[in-house]
Amino acid sequence: MLDHREQFDVIVVGGGHAGTEAALAAARVGASTLLLTQSIETIGQMSCNPAIGGIGKSHLVREIDALDGAMARAADAAGIQFRILNASKGPAVRATRAQADRTLYRAAIRGIVERQENLRIFQQPVVDLVVEGEAVAGVVTAMGLRFRAPAVVMATGTFLGGRIHVGFETQPGGRAGDAPSNALAKRLRALPFRVGRLKTGTPPRIDRRGVEFSVLAEQPGDDPAPNLSFLPQPHPEQVSCFIAETNPRTHEIIREALDRSPLFTGAIEGPGPRYCPSIEDKVVRFAERQRHQVFVEPEGLECAELYPNGISTSLPFDVQVALVNSIRGFEKAHITRPGYAIEYDFFDPRDLEYSLETRSLAGLFFAGQINGTTGYEEAAAQGLLAGLNAARKVQGSAPWYPRRDEAYIGVMIDDLINLGASEPYRMFTSRAEYRLRLREDNADIRLTGMGRDLGLVGDERWRAYGRKTAARDRLMGRLKDRLVRPGSDAARLLEAESGSKIGSEVRLIDFLKRPEATVDQAIRVLGDTDAERELLRGVETEVKYEGYVKRQDAEIAKIRRNENIALPDDIDYHSIPGLSMELRQKLETVRPGTLARAARVPGMTPAGLSVLLVHATRGSAGKKHAVSS
């Protein structure tokens, strides 16, 4: 075996969304980092549908961006259609979604990776880990080259035990086209991790030249196109998406072929995501529906392939052809790649620490699909955290991770390591109980300062952030200082614009709390402002939500207290009196590490928590979990 002469601090295995953010984060905080990938060409590859963001997910993207990660900037540089979802609802659940050009996206990510200091790239499949004592010490590549590092981040996607199904045809595989890295898989399986199996699927791709767009509903992007990043970039040319629909004929084709479906004949065992069912699933489970929407998404400006989002399937190829051609507008469509279902193994994330370090092998971190999640955004967010914490470990610093009330990243990590993944884990806003404070518009306010302290945030972003907060503080100050008297010109203007009466003297900032009031009205009273549109909206939101945010403070304070109270690993929950049988059983499987985690066990009551609290001292007393600050 040949040792590479360079010693690294952090090695990241995998060049997908988790791997690149992990490598970039580790390098940003000063760790000398190596990114090992099977193919440099596929760095930043979007292997599923070519979109970034969407509800819940865009919040993750903004948070990654606030910590100076790459995803938002790359999406802005590659986005060919941008839409704000939930625009009619409130700012907390508004979400930006970008349709990306695959090629441009890959190029953007590769550019960012190649410009990053402290980061080397090397193309070689990893076949083994180097383990010394109880800790990881490096990796071995296919050609027998050994790279040494005290921390390794595995961001290898669905490479473990992958099995692809198209009808009854099955073959081992990672993504369609990639060779599965089975040697490494064997090595990891030898470690004491719990392994679970999941399933996901993709639709057949079709050639745009066979599609009759005139009969489809056009879905143009927003104009002007919004940005995902807090550091705006020019977008490329913008295009539309289209919406097609399945029909009773489509459904009949599917029903007739169910005896050839691996899903319905039991060939596939892993649970698929409930929020992303295959078309055969939808047709069977919601039999009364006459139609299902199919979102027709371009894969790129220069490329002829379309991604028909909504007809993911593992039916045999001939059925796929029939079902695609049964859809109005797709009658002559040509399938370029068949749809398929893939089953794969993942490592139960309940065996991880909050830092994403594995509990059974020191220095080994997991990020992305390997942990049972799905989605680029979920993967990237974990990557960033794992890369950061791998570097911090080598640098001798305590791990950092945000709490549930600080970031969607915190919600995700907390969900994963406490609840595991019974289906591919995807972010939704309803997972975040403190949704009102975790908004797209304030992701930088929530995280950029912390990111700077951690060393993640570079000078350019820090300066831009400084300018923004200064402008924001000035605006807030003016809103606070400005008094509006009843009957004054300002009052008349506000009343006319908002339809809300000003009966007594009111500060402009308090007026803004009224539902009818908008920041535009306030600006008209103030006269000029140097603040940008986005910032104005952010201020309005902040003022409007203040009451709710304050009310949640008490709830959050309680959770923070409970976070400081560790529940020893060896508690025998069955022996604790005063808890219901059902709770005991749940606690026994979840084994929450802290009282705060116990509080989230479904069905938990305040009295049950009191009982647990006192049991906290039995056994290993006083042991505390790392607490994020």
């Binding site: 509800i55 819940g56 979802l85 939930n86 609802k89 409130g90 700012p91 907390a92 659940v93 409930r274 929020y275 992303c276 069912p277 939808k282 489970r285 919601f286 529906r289 299902h292 929407q293 199919v294 979102f295 989002n309 909504g310 993911s312 969900d415 939704f428 806003t429 309803s430 997972r431 975040a432 109980e433 949704r435 009102l436 539902p515 709710y548 008490a554 304070a557 309680k558 207290r561 400081n564 109270i565 604790i576 009196p577 005063g578 989230r600 066990v601 479904p602 069905g603 938990m604 009551t605 305040p606 009295a607 009191s610 009982v611 609290l613 006192v614 049991h615 001292t617 039995r618 007393a621």
Partner: protein
């Protein structure tokens, strides 16, 4: 424990166990304790020195007693603690507690004072062990109390409400997380209508709960004793009506007679029974059998003892949950009232003159823990508080909807309502909601 472990709200409860006479203590702990103490007693309290004060609520004097202020961290819980020690009996104590709650304290959960003491490093490991058992047993008692108050209709209704809020949240959350999926219902008026219906259900339940209608079984009390001891007479005395037949013939009552009544807000079910004696009469034998069965089942047995008949047995010792009642004091010239010198305490009454009946009522309330911190009564009270909060949050969500507030604001109020009900039914996790969403709607691409 780190200082961040400090709680920031103020709790209050009756600290003396139910059924123990003498003084009663209302304990208040938390940042507002001193202020509440000052308001309830009319003036600032001296530190660590007893002060004799009137306990007042809304200008009305409730009791006179000793007030003590222990500033944190040198107190039992480590926080500011105020103790109000009164003599006025359980109902008065309850009113003093109400006064504290009105001033901003919240009703403490079982064992919460001890919990705070523990969190603030006031207990060592050995003590904590002992406390663990205590909390376990009090919360078990509370669970029984809660069960009783939640029994039957009430429980079913609270759980039904919980389910309805879940359903509603499923719709609202789905319209937020899956806007593409045509589950846009916030605007459709459906949500408003559902909230309205929920609000009226919660209100109705609250009203019933407040009136104790749902506790119709209330506390079961059996009147037991030898023939002619005055059981039926006592029943009539307590109900104020000639409900039961009274004669001087021993063995008048031969079957059970059940009457519901309310004594000072405490709902009771009284059961008059046949006098206990050996007999050949087959009807009476059955009556006696039923009397014993009823005594075994009851929450409290009033064991009547006929002071005028020296041959009659005093049956009180047969049941651990018996309250001995000496009747017919008018015939033997004994003073009415409670006698605490014996264990358990006895009550002396005359059904004929009504002397001692008030003392008996107090004794009953004391024995069933009507004033105790973790009695069925308090548990029910907590549930009513939770229902009240749920109702408030629902009404706010309705108002927000009306004002055209953002969907997530309405959703947040609904979450608060659900959280409040969760205090009774256990919390619903976000993932449970998502599960419901997926099984209800055809979601996904």
């Amino acid at each position: 424990m780190p200082s961040t472990a400090r709680a920031n709200d103020t709790i209050a409860a009756v600290a003396t166990p139910p059924g123990q006479g003498g003084i009663g203590i209302v304990r208040i702990s938390g940042p507002l304790a001193a202020r509440i103490g000052a308001t309830v007693t009319g003036a600032e309290l001296p530190r660590r020195r007893p002060a004799l004060r009137n306990f007042v609520r809304r200008g009305e004097s409730l009791d006179r007693g000793v007030a003590l202020y222990f500033p944190g961290p040198g107190s039992f819980t480590g926080e500011d603690v105020v103790e109000l020690q009164g003599h006025g009996g359980p109902m008065v104590l309850q009113m003093v507690l109400e006064a504290a709650l009105t001033e901003g304290a919240r009703l403490a959960r079982p064992g919460e004072f001890t919990e705070r003491a523990y969190v603030n490093g006031k207990l060592d490991l050995a003590q904590a062990e002992a406390v663990a058992d205590l909390i376990a047993s009090t919360s078990a008692a509370a669970a029984r109390g809660a069960f009783r108050s939640l029994e039957g209709a009430f429980s079913t209704q609270v759980h039904a409400l919980d389910e309805r809020i879940t359903r509603l949240r499923v719709y609202v959350e789905a319209s937020i997380d899956f806007p593409d999926e045509e589950v846009e219902i916030l605007a459709s008026g459906q949500v408003a209508e559902r909230i309205d219906r929920l609000v009226s259900s919660v209100r109705a339940l609250l009203e019933q709960g407040r009136q104790g209608v749902l506790m119709n079984q209330g506390v079961n009390i059996a009147l037991v004793g030898p023939p002619n001891s005055g059981k039926s007479s006592l029943l009539n005395r307590l109900t104020g009506e000639e409900t039961a037949i009274v004669t001087d013939i021993p063995g008048t009552t031969r079957d059970l007679l059940k009457v519901d009544l309310v004594i000072d807000n405490l709902p009771l079910r009284l059961v008059d029974t046949a006098g206990l004696r050996e007999t050949e009469d087959r009807v009476e034998v059955e009556g006696v059998r039923r009397a014993r069965r009823e005594a075994g089942r009851a929450d409290l047995v009033l064991a009547l003892n006929d002071l005028a008949d020296s041959r009659a047995d005093d049956v009180a010792s047969a049941w651990p949950h018996a309250l001995p009642v000496d009747n017919k004091i008018d015939l033997v010239g004994v003073a009415p009232g409670m006698d605490r010198s014996s264990t358990p305490a006895r009550v002396r009454i005359s059904c004929l003159t009504g002397a001692g009946i008030d003392s008996l009522k107090e004794a009953i309330k004391e024995r069933v823990g009507f004033a105790g911190a973790e009695s069925a009564f308090s548990a029910r009270r907590r549930h009513l508080v939770a229902l009240g909060q749920a109702s408030e949050a629902l009404e706010t969500s309705r108002r927000r909807l009306e004002e055209g507030a953002a969907g997530e604001i309405v959703a947040e109020e609904l979450r608060q309502a659900h959280l409040a009900l969760g205090e009774i039914t256990g919390q619903t996790a976000p993932d449970d909601l998502l599960g419901e969403i997926f099984s209800t709607f055809c979601i996904g691409k």
